[in-house]
Amino acid sequence: MADEPMKDTATQSFEFSTFYVGGALCGINILNIQEINKNFDITQVPQAADYVKGILNLRGRIVTIIDLGAKLGLEPVTVSKDNRNIIVNSEDEHIGLLVDAISDVVSAGQDELEPSPSNIGGVKGKFFQGVIKTEKSLIGILDIDEVLKE
């Protein structure tokens, strides 16, 4: 992943894993993703912020699961069989993002990334690096560091 940006930025293409949070279709650079699972054996942490769903044992590591819906200021993720944890790497730590459902992997060139509007499906623009327009939909590419700010 470190070598990737060395290529010509215009022709360079990214892959995004996309998923639904509330009504919004969001994406995360696939290189930020450690894994996607549906392990919901979550231990609740009383007194934690409301967006913290709890903590999880991921092969011996304690991973904080964050309800992405609540974190982005939407409704908390509704429990369903489509729920997934997207485990991302952030500041040397694994953090799980609980999403409503996952969708396709989309590739796009760097030049296709457009500045994000102030609001995407009810989510503040500051959480996004930009948007990618496909034939069917608009994908908001999440800025993981911004989203995971405490």
Binding site: Q47, V52, I55, G60, I62, I95
Partner: protein
């Protein structure tokens, strides 16, 4: 950089280790003064020497130079040409400090200016008589010599002093020429190892690497070699040298006197140009050119190292001569590393092997579906895992000496600076602690020790005025206790002044006057732990550095440790720290609340308490808003974990099917609500049923007993109410993510056996969250007050009874033999006396109305009799029940209700109670029993009056005992405390025949008084009887060691007087 990082790193570590020992050794040398302990000096000398040797080899010129100068001074001390006085040792210590700094900053070491150290050291060497030989140039410190070899090559700049030293010890001098590549590297050795092994058989005077004679890679035909020259002094003979150095004798030169010549060059840089190594062809003979080609590949195979590493080495070797300087470049900051015992590593290897075996067996068992084999191998793996864990833990353990030793230096330097005289004693250096804990307690400990030196110990003058030894004492003691490491820092300084602390706390707005007024002395002392508190009236550069005791406490607590404070004004302070052995794995109690498990560290756990449902209401009380439980007479605040964490418990109402919050307003409601439900009868059942089924609501569960974990952390002690108590387990502490850092209620998380995560509770933070401080403070005040009452004021066990229905009386319990109930009909009258047949004898019976003006007892069918034993005879006192025993603080009014046979009056349980003086009563009734006292009196009338010195702080006991003594015709000199007694003793030494002293007294206690008496030749003949309520074995032992001759428990008049008489008879002989 021809040497790899690893070797350099190893050298640094080893040198630092040497330095660690040097400091304490130097301090011991200083202490010994003129009586030089040669072994110790040799130790330091050798250490400095190895550092020098290694530095020479690594090209660390500055370090080498400094080490060399240090070594010179040490050499003089070793030869007893120099007395290691304080100032000289200071210079040495500073020099070694600088050496440590240089080693820690190895990259920049060669650029560091050390000239002032060198000057200071040179001043010592030049001023010493040994160096003042006529031919000596006064400004040249160590003279340099060159060694001229037979072939004319010259090895320059060897310290003449070292050579002379070796010669004077009858050692042979060798110049050994190693080749780093062929003799060391290719033989799989390491230069530091070689140096070390040489050190075992002799002294390395100098070691150098000759870069100038290293060939360049361009000359491929030239053999690759890096000459490494060592000047070595050893008692080994020349013919043995070959086996020692493991190189051909050709490269070993015995240095004889005629080979030595005064150095041609005095310029230190000259050594870089150093001698021309023997002509390159010479070595080639031994290694054919073809073989030389193989050097590199061969090395790769041997070392299994990446190719780049070995070629890199050679390239730098090539580069070195170009620069002319040997640069040391360490890429990154070295990783911290740890020395591990090889035996332990072997054990680990072994266990790892076992584990692999176990896994294979397990796999086999599973594959063949052999349950028995699977079970066996799982047991095996279980065992191996525990052993492995323990062994790995042991690799992390380090002796506490690593940090305690440096305090000798801290105390020494500080006491010099402050003009104090302090003796530091370190006990328990061998105690081991986890490395991380060890590192983490370093700062808090330093702070505490500095505090002791700065604020604790007085100046010698103050101490002498106080009557203390001018030299203060600080003791650092480490020991294992109950799976924890205890550290005690105690000093015999001025102690903490509770009032001063309290005032300061008020002045700083940390406390209100009202709060302080309610506090015990101990509570006031503990105010120094408050954030923002610092007692030093002015900030000194010694201990006032903006770090308060609160930081110390926080640090200790974050390690799972506990800190306790105990101080007696004028006598010193004890600070006790309890620490867990390790942080990584902690034994914990697993509890659960609301379906989630929580781990509770065992170190915080005092006990588990289960209050049966039926007793909840009576056991749980409410104080203000807080629930408390009475535990062995102590009020323990309760925290409801579910409530604290805001865990919402819900239950579904069976009638309305609505979800309702099930949060009790307070704990005491639990039982009464259940009552309500039961009283209703009809819906009690369904509620219970439903609760059981849902498994969520434990309140209505049949087993609605209350489970309490009694925990403590620092100053907090409370009961944590949980739903369920499970097993005790060893858990591995794992950190939680950054989003949970604000949840201070948890100390981390752990993974349970079933793979689920459980949170670890932070007991101290929970208490703070609950704002328990006030509750705890209240409890502390009460406890401390009780404790104070126990220790400071005298408590006595009394038997209370009534005479008639109205009058309350009490008598000392220790005189009471039994309490009997007899039939009035059995009482016989003989003359005006009453007796009863009792245990084969006649027990005389009395009542209070016979000795004083009290109402006579009414006639009853049954009569209660208290049987006292006085003068080995029993007598009965007829009383009216209730007869009860109690411990009370004696606060006796001796005047208002004074009567014959009555000591005085005091209030017990709201009644004015008269204290009966049984002795006086017996004396009135049976004067003939006291014949012996009469004899003593007569005896003393003949031989002169005996004078007793009696020290006692309680006015009641003082008067009482004085009375006893005077009644037996002794003369008594009273003192209110030990210090006054000491003064009185000094004034009237000739008159006093015997000393009787209380032990617990302000200003100076009985132990100290005794110690002084026994240590003073003027008084040591005096015998000391301790009269005390401190009757534990430890106290008796302490008393013995202080020199107390007899130990009497308060207050058995008869025995005390018998002992006094006995000792006076003895002392008369």
């Amino acid at each position: 950089m021809f040497e790899d990082d690893e070797t350099l790193q190893m050298y640094i570590e080893e040198s630092l280790e040497h330095l660690g020992d040097i400091e304490s050794d130097l301090l011991t040398i200083e202490e010994a003064g003129e009586n030089i302990d040669l072994d110790l000096v040799n130790n330091v000398f050798r250490a400095a020497h190895s550092i020098k040797g290694g530095a020479g080899f690594m090209g660390l010129t500055t370090i080498k130079e400094l080490a060399h100068h240090l070594e010179n001074v040490l050499g003089l001390i070793r030869n007893q040409e120099l007395i290691p006085d304080s100032s000289r040792i200071s210079v040495l210590l500073k020099g070694f400090d600088e050496l440590e700094t240089l080693l820690n900053n190895i990259q920049t070491s060669n650029e560091t200016d050390i000239s002032h150290h060198i000057q200071a050291l040179e001043k010592i060497t030049t001023s010493s008589p040994a160096e003042e030989k006529p031919e000596e140039k006064p400004d040249m410190a160590p003279r340099m010599m060159d060694i001229v070899l037979e072939d004319g090559r010259i090895f320059q700049q060897v310290s003449m002093h070292d050579i002379a030293q070796a010669a004077s010890e009858g050692k042979n001098l060798f110049l050994v020429e190693y080749d780093l590549v062929n003799d060391i590297h290719r033989k799989g050795k390491n230069p530091v190892e070689v140096l070390n092994s040489l050190q075992k058989t002799g002294t390395i005077i100098d070691a150098r690497v000759d870069f100038d004679s290293v060939g360049t890679l361009d000359h491929t035909l030239e053999p690759l070699k890096i000459p490494f020259q060592i000047v070595f002094a050893s008692i080994i003979e020349y013919d043995m040298a070959e086996t020692l150095f493991e190189i051909p004798t050709r490269y070993i030169h015995a240095v004889t006197d005629n080979m030595l010549a005064a150095s041609s060059s005095t310029h230190p840089d000259a050594r870089h140009k150093t001698m021309e190594m023997q002509s390159t062809a010479e070595r080639v003979e031994t290694i054919p050119a073809a073989q030389v080609q193989e050097v590199l590949p061969e090395k790769k195979q041997e070392q299994g190292a990446p190719a780049g590493a070995s070629t890199g080495e050679v390239q730098t070797a090539k580069a070195a001569p170009k620069n002319g300087e040997n640069e040391i470049q360490l890429g990154q900051k070295p990783q911290s590393s740890l020395r591990v015992n090889v035996g332990l590593l072997d054990t680990l290897m072994n266990l790892a092997g076992e584990l692999v075996l176990g896994r294979n067996q397990l796999l086999q068992g599973i594959n063949s579906a052999n349950t028995k084999a699977t079970e066996l191998s799982s047991q095996r793996i279980d065992m191996i895992t525990s052993e492995l864990q323990e062994a790995i833990m042991r690799t992390r353990m380090q002796p506490i000496a690593n940090i305690l030793n440096k305090f000798s230096r801290v105390v020494r330097d500080m006491s010099h600076q402050l003009g104090k005289s302090i003796d530091l004693q370190i006990i328990g250096k061998e105690v081991e602690l986890d490395k991380t804990i060890l590192e983490a307690i370093n700062d808090p400990l330093t702070h505490l020790v500095r505090n002791s030196v700065d604020h604790g110990i007085e100046t010698p003058m103050e101490r002498e005025q106080m009557g203390k030894d001018a030299t203060g004492r600080i003791t650092l003691k480490a020991f294992h206790d109950a799976g924890q490491v205890n550290l005690i820092i105690s000093d015999d300084g001025r102690g903490l002044a509770p009032e001063k602390i309290a005032k300061a706390a008020i002045a700083k707005g940390l406390m209100t006057e009202k709060q302080v007024a309610e506090m015990s002395e101990k509570g006031k002392m503990e105010l120094i732990f408050l954030p923002g508190f610092s007692t030093a009236s002015e900030v000194t550069d010694v201990s006032g550095r903006g770090v308060g005791m609160d930081v110390v406490v926080t640090n200790i607590q974050s390690l799972g440790g506990i800190i306790e404070l105990d101080s007696t004004p004028g006598q010193g302070t004890d600070i006790q720290i309890k620490l867990p052995l390790t942080l990584a794995i902690i034994p914990s109690q697993i509890t659960s609340v609301g379906g989630e498990r929580y781990a509770l560290p065992q170190v915080n756990l005092n006990e588990l308490l289960r209050i049966p449902a039926a007793q909840v209401k009576e056991k749980i009380e409410k104080v203000g808003d807080a629930a408390v439980v009475r535990l062995r007479g102590e009020l323990l605040p309760l925290l409801n974990l579910a409530q604290m964490l805001g865990i919402e418990k819900t239950f579904t109402d069976p009638d309305t099917l609505e979800e309702q919050a099930d949060r009790r307003r307070n704990l005491a409601d639990r039982r009464s609500k259940k009552h309500l439900a039961s009283d209703d009868g009809s819906d009690a059942g369904p509620v219970d049923e439903h609760a059981k089924r849902s498994g969520k609501d434990r309140r209505y569960h049949a087993s609605s007993a209350m489970n309490i974990a009694v925990v403590s952390a620092g100053a907090f002690k409370y009961g944590l109410v949980v739903d369920q108590l499970h097993d005790s387990e060893e858990i591995v502490v794992k950190p939680v993510g950054r989003h949970l850092k604000k949840c201070t209620a948890y100390a981390g998380a752990t993974i349970m056996g079933d793979g689920k995560v459980a949170l670890i509770l932070d007991i101290s933070n929970l208490a703070q969250m609950a704002e328990l401080a006030t509750v705890s403070e209240a409890g502390q005040v009460a406890r401390a007050a009780e404790k104070k009452a126990e220790t400071k004021t005298d408590k006595a066990a009394l038997l209370t009874f009534k005479n008639t229905d109205s009058g309350h009386f009490a008598a000392p319990l220790n005189l009471v033999e039994r309490i009997e109930r007899i039939k009035t009909a059995e009482i016989e009258r003989i003359g005006d006396r009453k007796v009863v047949q009792y245990r084969g004898g006649a027990l005389p019976l009395y009542e209070l109305s016979q000795v004083a003006e009290f109402d006579p007892l009414p006639e009853k069918e049954l009569q209660e009799v208290i049987v006292f034993k006085v003068k080995n005879r029993e007598l009965g006192l007829m009383v009216t029940p209730p007869v009860d025993t109690m411990e009370v603080v004696l606060d006796v009014d001796e005047n208002t209700l004074k009567q014959p046979a009555i000591n005085g009056s005091m209030i017990i349980n709201g009644h004015t109670t008269l204290l009966v003086d049984i002795f006086e009563m017996v004396k009135i009734l049976n004067p003939e029993w006291f014949a012996e006292e009469a004899r003593t009196a007569a005896d003393m009338a003949q031989n002169g009056e005996k004078i007793l010195l009696f020290a006692e702080d309680s006015a009641f006991f003082r008067n009482q005992v004085k009375k006893y003594m005077e009644e037996d015709n002794f003369k008594v000199i009273e003192a209110e405390d030990g210090l006054l007694a000491w003064e009185l003793l000094k004034e009237r030494a000739d008159e006093i025949d015997l000393v009787v002293t209380d032990l617990e007294m302000p200003n100076m206690d009985g132990f100290e008084l005794t110690r002084r008496i026994k240590n003073d030749p003027r008084f040591s003949h005096l015998q000391v009887i301790a009269l005390t309520s401190l009757a534990s074995d430890a106290h008796i032992e302490k008393g013995r060691s202080a020199g107390i001759d007899a130990y009497e428990i308060k207050l058995d008049r008869e025995k005390l007087m018998a002992v006094i008489r006995q000792y006076l008879h003895l002392s008369r002989k």
